[in-house]
Protein backbone atom coordinates (compact mmCIF):
# COMPACT_ATOMS: atom_id res chain seq x y z
CA UNK A 1 0.00 0.00 0.00
CA UNK A 2 2.68 2.44 1.04
CA UNK A 3 4.78 1.84 -2.05
CA UNK A 4 1.99 2.17 -4.58
CA UNK A 5 2.95 5.67 -5.59
CA UNK A 6 6.65 5.07 -6.10
CA UNK A 7 6.32 3.99 -9.71
CA UNK A 8 5.93 7.50 -11.01
CA UNK A 9 8.22 9.02 -8.41
CA UNK A 10 11.17 6.76 -9.03
CA UNK A 11 13.74 9.22 -7.70
CA UNK A 12 12.34 8.94 -4.20
CA UNK A 13 13.26 5.80 -2.25
CA UNK A 14 10.25 3.75 -1.27
CA UNK A 15 10.77 4.20 2.43
CA UNK A 16 11.28 7.97 2.26
CA UNK A 17 7.95 9.24 3.38
CA UNK A 18 6.86 11.70 5.99
CA UNK A 19 4.29 11.28 8.73
CA UNK A 20 0.74 10.21 7.89
CA UNK A 21 -1.21 13.08 6.38
CA UNK A 22 -4.62 11.59 5.76
CA UNK A 23 -6.66 8.56 4.86
CA UNK A 24 -8.07 8.57 1.35
CA UNK A 25 -10.66 6.38 -0.30
CA UNK A 26 -12.63 6.23 -3.52
CA UNK A 27 -16.38 5.94 -4.11
CA UNK A 28 -18.07 5.38 -7.42
CA UNK A 29 -21.26 7.37 -7.03
CA UNK A 30 -22.15 10.81 -5.70
CA UNK A 31 -24.74 9.43 -3.32
CA UNK A 32 -22.22 7.03 -1.77
CA UNK A 33 -19.79 9.91 -1.37
CA UNK A 34 -22.31 12.27 0.24
CA UNK A 35 -23.62 9.54 2.55
CA UNK A 36 -20.05 8.67 3.57
CA UNK A 37 -19.26 12.31 4.29
CA UNK A 38 -22.28 12.52 6.60
CA UNK A 39 -21.30 9.29 8.36
CA UNK A 40 -17.68 10.35 8.82
CA UNK A 41 -18.72 13.72 10.19
CA UNK A 42 -21.07 12.01 12.60
CA UNK A 43 -18.05 10.14 13.99
CA UNK A 44 -16.48 13.48 14.83
CA UNK A 45 -14.00 13.91 11.97
CA UNK A 46 -14.11 17.50 10.81
CA UNK A 47 -11.14 18.00 8.52
CA UNK A 48 -12.45 16.47 5.31
CA UNK A 49 -11.91 17.07 1.67
CA UNK A 50 -13.74 15.65 -1.31
CA UNK A 51 -12.32 15.52 -4.83
CA UNK A 52 -14.84 14.96 -7.61
CA UNK A 53 -14.70 15.07 -11.41
CA UNK A 54 -17.60 17.54 -11.52
CA UNK A 55 -19.49 19.75 -9.04
CA UNK A 56 -21.76 17.69 -6.81
CA UNK A 57 -24.90 19.32 -5.46
CA UNK A 58 -25.40 19.14 -1.72
CA UNK A 59 -21.77 18.32 -0.99
CA UNK A 60 -21.00 21.68 0.69
CA UNK A 61 -23.95 21.20 2.97
CA UNK A 62 -22.95 17.60 3.81
CA UNK A 63 -19.37 18.72 4.53
CA UNK A 64 -20.66 21.51 6.77
CA UNK A 65 -18.71 24.04 4.72
CA UNK A 66 -19.17 27.53 6.07
CA UNK A 67 -19.51 30.55 3.83
CA UNK A 68 -16.14 31.89 2.82
CA UNK A 69 -14.94 34.98 4.67
CA UNK A 70 -13.47 36.24 1.40
CA UNK A 71 -16.43 38.53 0.74
CA UNK A 72 -15.68 40.57 3.85
CA UNK A 73 -12.04 40.92 2.87
CA UNK A 74 -13.11 42.11 -0.59
CA UNK A 75 -15.59 44.58 0.90
CA UNK A 76 -12.96 45.96 3.26
CA UNK A 77 -10.46 46.40 0.44
CA UNK A 78 -13.13 48.01 -1.74
CA UNK A 79 -13.93 50.53 0.99
CA UNK A 80 -10.21 51.12 1.46
CA UNK A 81 -10.01 51.85 -2.28
CA UNK A 82 -12.78 54.44 -1.96
CA UNK A 83 -11.02 56.14 0.95
CA UNK A 84 -7.61 56.10 -0.74
CA UNK A 85 -9.02 57.52 -3.98
CA UNK A 86 -10.97 60.27 -2.25
CA UNK A 87 -8.07 61.15 0.03
CA UNK A 88 -5.58 61.15 -2.82
CA UNK A 89 -7.67 63.38 -5.04
CA UNK A 90 -8.64 65.76 -2.29
CA UNK A 91 -5.19 66.10 -0.78
CA UNK A 92 -3.24 66.49 -4.04
CA UNK A 93 -5.71 68.75 -5.86
CA UNK A 94 -7.22 70.84 -3.09
CA UNK A 95 -4.60 70.88 -0.30
CA UNK A 96 -1.07 70.16 -1.39
CA UNK A 97 -0.91 71.66 -4.87
CA UNK A 98 -4.13 73.44 -5.86
CA UNK A 99 -4.31 74.31 -9.55
CA UNK A 100 -7.21 75.81 -11.47
CA UNK A 101 -7.90 73.45 -14.36
CA UNK A 102 -10.66 74.20 -16.86
CA UNK A 103 -12.41 76.50 -14.42
CA UNK A 104 -13.40 73.51 -12.30
CA UNK A 105 -13.38 73.45 -8.49
CA UNK A 106 -10.22 72.13 -6.85
CA UNK A 107 -12.23 69.23 -5.61
CA UNK A 108 -15.74 68.09 -6.57
CA UNK A 109 -17.62 64.85 -6.00
CA UNK A 110 -18.57 64.70 -9.67
CA UNK A 111 -15.14 64.27 -11.19
CA UNK A 112 -13.76 62.25 -8.30
CA UNK A 113 -16.18 59.38 -8.87
CA UNK A 114 -14.52 57.64 -11.86
CA UNK A 115 -11.16 57.39 -10.10
CA UNK A 116 -12.88 56.35 -6.88
CA UNK A 117 -14.78 53.68 -8.76
CA UNK A 118 -11.67 52.40 -10.50
CA UNK A 119 -9.58 52.22 -7.32
CA UNK A 120 -12.40 50.52 -5.48
CA UNK A 121 -12.67 47.90 -8.22
CA UNK A 122 -8.89 47.50 -8.43
CA UNK A 123 -8.32 46.93 -4.72
CA UNK A 124 -11.42 44.75 -4.42
CA UNK A 125 -10.28 42.53 -7.31
CA UNK A 126 -6.79 42.28 -5.89
CA UNK A 127 -8.38 41.19 -2.63
CA UNK A 128 -10.55 38.68 -4.47
CA UNK A 129 -7.72 37.09 -6.44
CA UNK A 130 -4.94 37.15 -3.86
CA UNK A 131 -7.31 36.54 -0.95
CA UNK A 132 -8.67 33.47 -2.73
CA UNK A 133 -5.14 32.20 -3.28
CA UNK A 134 -4.17 32.87 0.33
CA UNK A 135 -7.29 31.23 1.76
CA UNK A 136 -6.57 28.16 -0.35
CA UNK A 137 -2.91 28.05 0.68
CA UNK A 138 -1.83 28.67 -2.90
CA UNK A 139 0.46 28.83 -4.72
CA UNK A 140 2.24 25.62 -3.78
CA UNK A 141 4.14 23.14 -5.88
CA UNK A 142 2.71 19.93 -4.56
CA UNK A 143 0.17 18.59 -2.14
CA UNK A 144 0.36 15.37 -0.10
CA UNK A 145 -3.03 14.27 -1.42
CA UNK A 146 -1.36 13.55 -4.77
CA UNK A 147 0.49 10.72 -3.01
CA UNK A 148 -2.79 8.77 -2.95
CA UNK A 149 -2.23 6.09 -5.55
CA UNK A 150 -5.74 6.33 -7.04
CA UNK A 151 -5.96 10.10 -6.94
CA UNK A 152 -6.12 10.37 -10.75
CA UNK A 153 -9.55 8.79 -10.70
CA UNK A 154 -10.93 11.96 -9.11
CA UNK A 155 -10.50 13.56 -12.52
CA UNK A 156 -12.23 10.68 -14.26
CA UNK A 157 -14.80 8.40 -12.67
CA UNK A 158 -13.99 8.32 -8.95
CA UNK A 159 -15.15 10.39 -6.01
CA UNK A 160 -12.25 10.66 -3.60
CA UNK A 161 -12.85 11.35 0.07
CA UNK A 162 -9.90 12.44 2.18
CA UNK A 163 -9.99 12.47 5.99
CA UNK A 164 -7.09 14.67 7.00
CA UNK A 165 -5.06 14.68 10.19
CA UNK A 166 -6.58 17.15 12.60
CA UNK A 167 -4.02 18.12 15.23
CA UNK A 168 -1.66 15.56 16.70
CA UNK A 169 -4.25 12.98 17.59
CA UNK A 170 -4.61 10.81 14.47
CA UNK A 171 -5.46 7.12 14.32
CA UNK A 172 -5.31 6.24 10.64
CA UNK A 173 -6.10 2.56 11.04
CA UNK A 174 -9.43 3.30 12.70
CA UNK A 175 -10.33 5.62 9.84
CA UNK A 176 -9.33 3.04 7.24
CA UNK A 177 -11.67 0.59 8.90
CA UNK A 178 -14.50 3.14 8.99
CA UNK A 179 -14.09 4.09 5.34
CA UNK A 180 -13.97 0.46 4.26
CA UNK A 181 -17.18 -0.15 6.19
CA UNK A 182 -18.80 2.74 4.34
CA UNK A 183 -17.98 1.10 1.04
CA UNK A 184 -14.82 2.96 0.10
CA UNK A 185 -12.51 1.35 -2.41
CA UNK A 186 -8.69 1.50 -2.46
CA UNK A 187 -8.56 2.96 1.03
CA UNK A 188 -5.01 4.09 1.86
CA UNK A 189 -3.06 5.94 4.46
CA UNK A 190 -1.51 8.88 2.60
CA UNK A 191 1.82 10.19 3.82
CA UNK A 192 3.43 13.54 3.51
CA UNK A 193 6.56 13.89 1.38
CA UNK A 194 9.77 13.11 3.13
Amino acid sequence: MATAHTEDRAMVPADAQGKPFAVATTFYSTTDLVDAIRAVRKKGYRKLDAHTPFPVHGIDEAMGEKRSKLGYVIAACGIAGILVAQGLQYWTAAVDYPLIIGGKPFYAVEFSIPITFELMVLLASFAAVFGMLAFNGLPRFNHPVFNYSHYARATDDGFVLVVERDGNHFEPTAIVELLNELGGDNTEIVHEDA
Binding site: P55, G103, E110
Partner: protein, 401 residues
Protein backbone atom coordinates in the same frame (compact mmCIF):
# COMPACT_ATOMS: atom_id res chain seq x y z
CA UNK B 1 -28.56 16.09 -8.53
CA UNK B 2 -30.47 12.86 -8.18
CA UNK B 3 -31.31 13.47 -4.54
CA UNK B 4 -33.14 16.65 -5.47
CA UNK B 5 -35.07 15.28 -8.41
CA UNK B 6 -38.85 15.47 -8.65
CA UNK B 7 -39.29 17.75 -5.63
CA UNK B 8 -41.59 19.87 -7.75
CA UNK B 9 -43.87 17.05 -8.75
CA UNK B 10 -46.64 18.60 -6.67
CA UNK B 11 -46.82 21.75 -8.77
CA UNK B 12 -49.49 22.17 -11.37
CA UNK B 13 -48.29 23.80 -14.57
CA UNK B 14 -51.67 25.31 -15.40
CA UNK B 15 -53.59 28.11 -13.75
CA UNK B 16 -56.65 26.89 -11.92
CA UNK B 17 -60.04 28.15 -13.06
CA UNK B 18 -60.78 29.89 -9.77
CA UNK B 19 -57.49 31.80 -9.59
CA UNK B 20 -57.77 32.77 -13.22
CA UNK B 21 -61.26 34.26 -12.90
CA UNK B 22 -60.52 36.05 -9.63
CA UNK B 23 -57.39 37.80 -10.88
CA UNK B 24 -59.00 38.51 -14.26
CA UNK B 25 -61.89 40.30 -12.57
CA UNK B 26 -59.58 42.36 -10.35
CA UNK B 27 -57.53 43.44 -13.38
CA UNK B 28 -60.68 44.26 -15.36
CA UNK B 29 -61.97 46.38 -12.47
CA UNK B 30 -58.67 48.28 -12.17
CA UNK B 31 -58.56 48.79 -15.93
CA UNK B 32 -62.18 49.93 -16.10
CA UNK B 33 -61.69 52.53 -13.36
CA UNK B 34 -58.54 53.76 -15.06
CA UNK B 35 -60.07 54.03 -18.51
CA UNK B 36 -63.24 55.77 -17.28
CA UNK B 37 -61.10 58.35 -15.48
CA UNK B 38 -58.87 58.72 -18.55
CA UNK B 39 -61.83 59.37 -20.84
CA UNK B 40 -63.21 61.93 -18.38
CA UNK B 41 -59.76 63.51 -18.17
CA UNK B 42 -59.47 63.66 -21.94
CA UNK B 43 -62.48 65.98 -22.11
CA UNK B 44 -61.73 67.90 -18.92
CA UNK B 45 -58.06 68.67 -19.53
CA UNK B 46 -56.90 67.66 -22.99
CA UNK B 47 -53.31 68.88 -22.54
CA UNK B 48 -52.73 67.19 -19.23
CA UNK B 49 -54.32 63.99 -20.48
CA UNK B 50 -51.63 63.66 -23.13
CA UNK B 51 -48.85 64.47 -20.68
CA UNK B 52 -50.03 61.84 -18.20
CA UNK B 53 -50.79 59.39 -20.94
CA UNK B 54 -47.31 59.60 -22.44
CA UNK B 55 -45.78 59.11 -19.00
CA UNK B 56 -47.82 56.00 -18.30
CA UNK B 57 -47.63 54.44 -21.75
CA UNK B 58 -43.85 54.82 -21.74
CA UNK B 59 -43.72 53.36 -18.23
CA UNK B 60 -45.81 50.35 -19.27
CA UNK B 61 -43.86 49.82 -22.50
CA UNK B 62 -40.57 49.59 -20.61
CA UNK B 63 -41.78 46.36 -18.98
CA UNK B 64 -42.67 44.74 -22.30
CA UNK B 65 -39.32 45.77 -23.79
CA UNK B 66 -37.52 44.58 -20.67
CA UNK B 67 -39.27 41.22 -21.00
CA UNK B 68 -38.22 40.86 -24.64
CA UNK B 69 -34.65 41.70 -23.65
CA UNK B 70 -34.71 39.19 -20.79
CA UNK B 71 -36.09 36.36 -22.94
CA UNK B 72 -33.51 37.05 -25.65
CA UNK B 73 -30.64 37.11 -23.18
CA UNK B 74 -31.76 33.80 -21.68
CA UNK B 75 -31.86 32.19 -25.13
CA UNK B 76 -28.58 33.74 -26.09
CA UNK B 77 -26.73 32.59 -23.00
CA UNK B 78 -28.37 29.15 -23.06
CA UNK B 79 -29.31 29.68 -19.42
CA UNK B 80 -30.78 26.71 -17.60
CA UNK B 81 -31.78 28.37 -14.34
CA UNK B 82 -34.30 30.69 -15.98
CA UNK B 83 -36.25 28.09 -17.94
CA UNK B 84 -38.90 27.76 -15.22
CA UNK B 85 -39.62 31.49 -15.29
CA UNK B 86 -39.30 31.90 -19.06
CA UNK B 87 -42.98 31.40 -19.89
CA UNK B 88 -44.03 34.12 -17.43
CA UNK B 89 -41.44 36.42 -19.04
CA UNK B 90 -42.68 35.49 -22.50
CA UNK B 91 -46.25 36.37 -21.53
CA UNK B 92 -45.03 39.77 -20.34
CA UNK B 93 -43.11 40.11 -23.59
CA UNK B 94 -46.31 39.35 -25.50
CA UNK B 95 -47.92 42.51 -24.12
CA UNK B 96 -45.97 44.31 -26.89
CA UNK B 97 -48.92 44.34 -29.33
CA UNK B 98 -51.01 45.95 -26.60
CA UNK B 99 -48.21 48.39 -25.85
CA UNK B 100 -48.32 49.34 -29.53
CA UNK B 101 -52.08 49.89 -29.58
CA UNK B 102 -52.03 51.82 -26.33
CA UNK B 103 -49.17 53.96 -27.60
CA UNK B 104 -51.20 55.24 -30.53
CA UNK B 105 -53.24 57.85 -28.55
CA UNK B 106 -49.95 59.68 -28.05
CA UNK B 107 -49.88 60.23 -31.80
CA UNK B 108 -52.96 62.46 -31.73
CA UNK B 109 -51.42 64.50 -28.92
CA UNK B 110 -48.06 65.28 -30.46
CA UNK B 111 -48.90 68.94 -30.53
CA UNK B 112 -49.52 68.99 -26.78
CA UNK B 113 -46.30 67.11 -26.08
CA UNK B 114 -43.52 68.11 -28.42
CA UNK B 115 -42.25 71.60 -29.01
CA UNK B 116 -40.86 70.59 -32.41
CA UNK B 117 -44.39 70.05 -33.77
CA UNK B 118 -45.06 73.80 -33.53
CA UNK B 119 -44.14 75.12 -36.98
CA UNK B 120 -43.86 78.75 -35.89
CA UNK B 121 -41.41 77.83 -33.10
CA UNK B 122 -39.34 75.64 -35.41
CA UNK B 123 -39.23 78.29 -38.15
CA UNK B 124 -37.80 80.92 -35.80
CA UNK B 125 -35.34 78.54 -34.16
CA UNK B 126 -32.21 77.73 -36.18
CA UNK B 127 -31.42 74.60 -34.16
CA UNK B 128 -34.89 73.12 -34.42
CA UNK B 129 -35.22 73.95 -38.09
CA UNK B 130 -32.01 72.04 -38.73
CA UNK B 131 -33.48 69.05 -36.85
CA UNK B 132 -36.81 69.25 -38.70
CA UNK B 133 -35.65 66.64 -41.22
CA UNK B 134 -35.74 64.05 -38.42
CA UNK B 135 -38.12 65.57 -35.90
CA UNK B 136 -41.29 65.95 -37.93
CA UNK B 137 -44.68 64.39 -37.34
CA UNK B 138 -44.98 61.92 -40.26
CA UNK B 139 -41.47 60.56 -39.76
CA UNK B 140 -41.94 60.40 -35.99
CA UNK B 141 -45.14 58.36 -36.34
CA UNK B 142 -43.57 56.12 -38.97
CA UNK B 143 -40.60 55.47 -36.70
CA UNK B 144 -42.80 54.60 -33.73
CA UNK B 145 -44.73 52.11 -35.86
CA UNK B 146 -41.46 50.71 -37.16
CA UNK B 147 -40.02 50.19 -33.66
CA UNK B 148 -43.08 48.32 -32.44
CA UNK B 149 -43.27 46.19 -35.60
CA UNK B 150 -39.63 45.16 -35.21
CA UNK B 151 -40.11 44.27 -31.55
CA UNK B 152 -43.33 42.40 -32.24
CA UNK B 153 -41.61 40.43 -35.01
CA UNK B 154 -39.05 39.08 -32.53
CA UNK B 155 -41.64 38.59 -29.80
CA UNK B 156 -44.02 36.60 -32.02
CA UNK B 157 -41.21 34.44 -33.41
CA UNK B 158 -39.82 33.55 -29.99
CA UNK B 159 -43.28 33.01 -28.56
CA UNK B 160 -44.38 30.78 -31.44
CA UNK B 161 -41.34 28.54 -31.16
CA UNK B 162 -41.58 28.31 -27.39
CA UNK B 163 -45.22 27.25 -27.44
CA UNK B 164 -44.67 24.85 -30.33
CA UNK B 165 -41.91 23.20 -28.31
CA UNK B 166 -44.39 22.48 -25.49
CA UNK B 167 -46.02 19.88 -27.71
CA UNK B 168 -43.22 18.26 -29.69
CA UNK B 169 -40.14 18.84 -27.44
CA UNK B 170 -38.14 19.57 -30.59
CA UNK B 171 -34.68 20.85 -29.72
CA UNK B 172 -34.39 22.77 -32.99
CA UNK B 173 -36.65 25.49 -31.52
CA UNK B 174 -34.05 26.13 -28.83
CA UNK B 175 -31.37 26.52 -31.51
CA UNK B 176 -33.57 28.77 -33.63
CA UNK B 177 -34.43 30.99 -30.65
CA UNK B 178 -30.77 31.31 -29.79
CA UNK B 179 -29.81 32.32 -33.31
CA UNK B 180 -32.63 34.83 -33.62
CA UNK B 181 -31.83 36.33 -30.23
CA UNK B 182 -28.23 36.99 -31.18
CA UNK B 183 -29.41 39.24 -33.96
CA UNK B 184 -32.49 40.42 -32.08
CA UNK B 185 -30.75 41.76 -29.03
CA UNK B 186 -28.64 44.04 -31.21
CA UNK B 187 -31.65 45.29 -33.10
CA UNK B 188 -33.66 45.76 -29.92
CA UNK B 189 -30.90 47.75 -28.27
CA UNK B 190 -30.52 50.03 -31.26
CA UNK B 191 -34.24 50.54 -31.87
CA UNK B 192 -35.13 51.06 -28.23
CA UNK B 193 -32.34 53.63 -27.94
CA UNK B 194 -33.85 55.52 -30.86
CA UNK B 195 -37.37 55.08 -29.48
CA UNK B 196 -36.46 56.55 -26.11
CA UNK B 197 -34.81 59.48 -27.87
CA UNK B 198 -37.96 60.07 -29.91
CA UNK B 199 -40.51 59.65 -27.17
CA UNK B 200 -38.76 61.16 -24.18
CA UNK B 201 -35.56 62.97 -25.16
CA UNK B 202 -37.27 65.04 -27.85
CA UNK B 203 -39.55 66.53 -25.19
CA UNK B 204 -36.61 68.93 -24.81
CA UNK B 205 -35.66 69.07 -28.48
CA UNK B 206 -32.60 71.25 -27.98
CA UNK B 207 -31.06 68.81 -25.58
CA UNK B 208 -29.24 65.66 -26.57
CA UNK B 209 -27.36 62.83 -24.90
CA UNK B 210 -26.00 59.72 -26.55
CA UNK B 211 -26.29 57.94 -23.19
CA UNK B 212 -30.02 58.48 -22.99
CA UNK B 213 -31.10 55.32 -24.81
CA UNK B 214 -28.89 53.09 -22.69
CA UNK B 215 -30.12 54.83 -19.56
CA UNK B 216 -33.74 54.02 -20.33
CA UNK B 217 -32.82 50.53 -21.54
CA UNK B 218 -31.23 49.82 -18.17
CA UNK B 219 -34.50 50.97 -16.58
CA UNK B 220 -36.41 48.49 -18.78
CA UNK B 221 -34.33 45.50 -17.71
CA UNK B 222 -34.46 46.60 -14.08
CA UNK B 223 -38.19 47.24 -13.86
CA UNK B 224 -39.03 44.05 -15.72
CA UNK B 225 -36.94 41.99 -13.29
CA UNK B 226 -38.68 43.64 -10.35
CA UNK B 227 -42.08 42.87 -11.83
CA UNK B 228 -41.11 39.28 -12.60
CA UNK B 229 -39.99 38.75 -8.99
CA UNK B 230 -43.25 40.20 -7.67
CA UNK B 231 -45.35 38.01 -9.96
CA UNK B 232 -43.41 34.90 -8.90
CA UNK B 233 -43.77 35.83 -5.23
CA UNK B 234 -47.53 36.37 -5.59
CA UNK B 235 -47.71 32.98 -7.30
CA UNK B 236 -45.74 31.44 -4.47
CA UNK B 237 -48.05 32.94 -1.86
CA UNK B 238 -50.97 31.30 -3.68
CA UNK B 239 -49.25 27.96 -4.17
CA UNK B 240 -48.59 28.39 -7.90
CA UNK B 241 -45.16 27.04 -8.92
CA UNK B 242 -44.31 27.27 -5.22
CA UNK B 243 -41.83 24.40 -5.46
CA UNK B 244 -40.68 24.93 -9.04
CA UNK B 245 -39.37 28.46 -8.43
CA UNK B 246 -37.06 28.00 -5.49
CA UNK B 247 -34.81 30.26 -3.47
CA UNK B 248 -32.04 29.43 -5.93
CA UNK B 249 -34.01 31.02 -8.76
CA UNK B 250 -34.89 34.04 -6.63
CA UNK B 251 -31.22 34.42 -5.81
CA UNK B 252 -30.41 34.74 -9.50
CA UNK B 253 -33.34 37.09 -10.09
CA UNK B 254 -32.01 39.16 -7.21
CA UNK B 255 -28.65 39.29 -8.96
CA UNK B 256 -30.36 40.61 -12.08
CA UNK B 257 -32.15 43.22 -10.02
CA UNK B 258 -28.93 44.26 -8.32
CA UNK B 259 -26.90 44.24 -11.54
CA UNK B 260 -29.32 46.31 -13.56
CA UNK B 261 -29.91 48.76 -10.75
CA UNK B 262 -26.17 49.29 -10.59
CA UNK B 263 -26.02 49.54 -14.37
CA UNK B 264 -28.82 52.10 -14.32
CA UNK B 265 -26.84 54.20 -11.85
CA UNK B 266 -23.71 53.76 -13.93
CA UNK B 267 -25.51 55.12 -17.01
CA UNK B 268 -27.17 57.91 -15.05
CA UNK B 269 -23.90 59.03 -13.57
CA UNK B 270 -21.95 58.72 -16.81
CA UNK B 271 -24.51 60.94 -18.50
CA UNK B 272 -24.52 63.45 -15.66
CA UNK B 273 -20.78 63.64 -15.13
CA UNK B 274 -19.92 64.29 -18.76
CA UNK B 275 -22.52 67.03 -18.95
CA UNK B 276 -21.31 68.50 -15.66
CA UNK B 277 -17.71 68.42 -16.83
CA UNK B 278 -18.37 69.76 -20.33
CA UNK B 279 -20.52 72.53 -18.85
CA UNK B 280 -22.06 73.37 -22.23
CA UNK B 281 -25.29 75.36 -22.09
CA UNK B 282 -27.22 73.19 -24.54
CA UNK B 283 -26.38 70.11 -22.47
CA UNK B 284 -26.76 71.44 -18.93
CA UNK B 285 -30.32 72.68 -19.54
CA UNK B 286 -31.56 69.18 -18.90
CA UNK B 287 -30.26 69.17 -15.34
CA UNK B 288 -30.47 72.84 -14.45
CA UNK B 289 -34.15 73.00 -13.56
CA UNK B 290 -34.12 69.44 -12.27
CA UNK B 291 -31.83 70.63 -9.50
CA UNK B 292 -34.06 73.57 -8.65
CA UNK B 293 -37.33 74.07 -6.80
CA UNK B 294 -39.55 71.06 -6.29
CA UNK B 295 -37.64 68.95 -8.82
CA UNK B 296 -34.55 69.02 -6.63
CA UNK B 297 -35.86 66.62 -3.96
CA UNK B 298 -37.03 64.30 -6.75
CA UNK B 299 -33.53 64.21 -8.19
CA UNK B 300 -32.11 63.48 -4.75
CA UNK B 301 -34.73 60.79 -4.22
CA UNK B 302 -33.54 59.09 -7.41
CA UNK B 303 -29.90 59.15 -6.34
CA UNK B 304 -30.57 57.82 -2.85
CA UNK B 305 -33.76 55.83 -3.28
CA UNK B 306 -33.17 54.41 -6.74
CA UNK B 307 -29.50 53.63 -6.29
CA UNK B 308 -27.91 53.79 -2.85
CA UNK B 309 -30.59 52.10 -0.74
CA UNK B 310 -31.24 49.12 -3.07
CA UNK B 311 -27.50 48.83 -3.74
CA UNK B 312 -26.66 48.69 -0.03
CA UNK B 313 -29.34 46.09 0.67
CA UNK B 314 -29.20 43.87 -2.41
CA UNK B 315 -25.42 43.54 -2.37
CA UNK B 316 -25.75 41.02 0.45
CA UNK B 317 -26.31 37.40 -0.44
CA UNK B 318 -28.88 36.88 2.31
CA UNK B 319 -31.01 39.76 1.01
CA UNK B 320 -31.29 38.17 -2.43
CA UNK B 321 -32.35 34.88 -0.84
CA UNK B 322 -34.71 36.42 1.70
CA UNK B 323 -37.97 36.46 -0.23
CA UNK B 324 -39.54 39.16 1.91
CA UNK B 325 -36.59 41.53 1.50
CA UNK B 326 -36.34 40.74 -2.21
CA UNK B 327 -40.06 41.37 -2.68
CA UNK B 328 -39.95 44.70 -0.85
CA UNK B 329 -36.92 45.81 -2.88
CA UNK B 330 -38.62 44.80 -6.14
CA UNK B 331 -41.75 46.75 -5.30
CA UNK B 332 -39.65 49.68 -4.17
CA UNK B 333 -37.70 49.68 -7.44
CA UNK B 334 -40.92 49.60 -9.47
CA UNK B 335 -41.97 52.76 -7.62
CA UNK B 336 -38.52 54.27 -8.16
CA UNK B 337 -38.68 53.40 -11.85
CA UNK B 338 -41.98 55.28 -12.02
CA UNK B 339 -40.36 58.25 -10.32
CA UNK B 340 -37.51 57.99 -12.82
CA UNK B 341 -39.83 58.01 -15.87
CA UNK B 342 -41.85 60.80 -14.22
CA UNK B 343 -38.67 62.79 -13.71
CA UNK B 344 -37.69 62.27 -17.35
CA UNK B 345 -41.08 63.02 -18.91
CA UNK B 346 -42.70 65.53 -16.54
CA UNK B 347 -39.34 67.09 -15.76
CA UNK B 348 -39.22 68.24 -19.36
CA UNK B 349 -42.89 69.21 -19.64
CA UNK B 350 -43.17 71.05 -16.31
CA UNK B 351 -39.83 72.72 -15.90
CA UNK B 352 -41.04 75.15 -13.20
CA UNK B 353 -41.76 72.41 -10.70
CA UNK B 354 -43.54 69.16 -9.99
CA UNK B 355 -47.25 69.31 -10.76
CA UNK B 356 -49.02 66.17 -9.66
CA UNK B 357 -52.38 65.45 -11.27
CA UNK B 358 -55.06 62.83 -10.74
CA UNK B 359 -54.71 61.86 -14.39
CA UNK B 360 -51.23 60.46 -13.67
CA UNK B 361 -52.83 57.92 -11.37
CA UNK B 362 -55.72 57.28 -13.75
CA UNK B 363 -53.28 56.51 -16.55
CA UNK B 364 -51.32 54.17 -14.31
CA UNK B 365 -54.48 52.26 -13.32
CA UNK B 366 -55.52 51.96 -16.96
CA UNK B 367 -52.09 50.59 -17.92
CA UNK B 368 -51.88 48.17 -15.00
CA UNK B 369 -55.38 46.87 -15.74
CA UNK B 370 -54.87 46.53 -19.50
CA UNK B 371 -51.37 45.11 -19.49
CA UNK B 372 -52.20 42.85 -16.56
CA UNK B 373 -55.32 41.56 -18.28
CA UNK B 374 -53.55 40.74 -21.56
CA UNK B 375 -50.69 39.10 -19.66
CA UNK B 376 -53.08 37.04 -17.57
CA UNK B 377 -55.23 35.86 -20.48
CA UNK B 378 -52.09 34.86 -22.36
CA UNK B 379 -50.67 32.99 -19.38
CA UNK B 380 -53.82 30.94 -18.86
CA UNK B 381 -53.97 29.64 -22.43
CA UNK B 382 -51.12 27.16 -22.11
CA UNK B 383 -48.83 25.72 -19.52
CA UNK B 384 -47.21 28.42 -17.37
CA UNK B 385 -43.76 26.89 -17.72
CA UNK B 386 -42.06 25.77 -20.95
CA UNK B 387 -42.61 22.05 -20.33
CA UNK B 388 -41.19 21.15 -23.74
CA UNK B 389 -37.80 22.70 -23.15
CA UNK B 390 -35.23 19.95 -22.74
CA UNK B 391 -33.54 21.93 -19.98
CA UNK B 392 -36.75 22.22 -17.97
CA UNK B 393 -36.07 19.36 -15.57
CA UNK B 394 -32.56 20.66 -14.91
CA UNK B 395 -33.94 24.12 -14.32
CA UNK B 396 -36.27 22.77 -11.62
CA UNK B 397 -33.26 21.27 -9.85
CA UNK B 398 -31.07 24.31 -10.26
CA UNK B 399 -28.70 25.12 -7.39
CA UNK B 400 -26.26 27.95 -6.92
CA UNK B 401 -22.73 26.70 -7.36
Amino acid sequence: MAQHASHSAADSFRLSEGTFTKVKNILLAIGAIGWILLVVGFFVDHERFHHSYLLNSVYATTFAVGALFFVMIQHLSGATWSVVIRRISECLMMTLPLAFILFLPNMIGLHSLYEWTHHDVVASDPILSRKAGYLNEPFFIARTIFYFCVWMFFAFKLWGWSVAQDNDRNFSYTEKSKNLSAFGVLVLTATFGLASMDWVMSLMPHWFSTMFGVYMYAGCALSFTGLLILICLRFRANGILANAISEEHYHDLGKWLFAFNTFWAYCAFSQYMLIWYGNLTEETIFFRHRFQGSWEPVSHLLIIGHFFIPFGILIARWAKRHLMVLGVMSAWLLVMHYVDVYWLVMGSLYQDGVQLHWLDLAGLLAMVGSFGYVFWIRLAKQSIVPVGDLRFERSLNFHQA
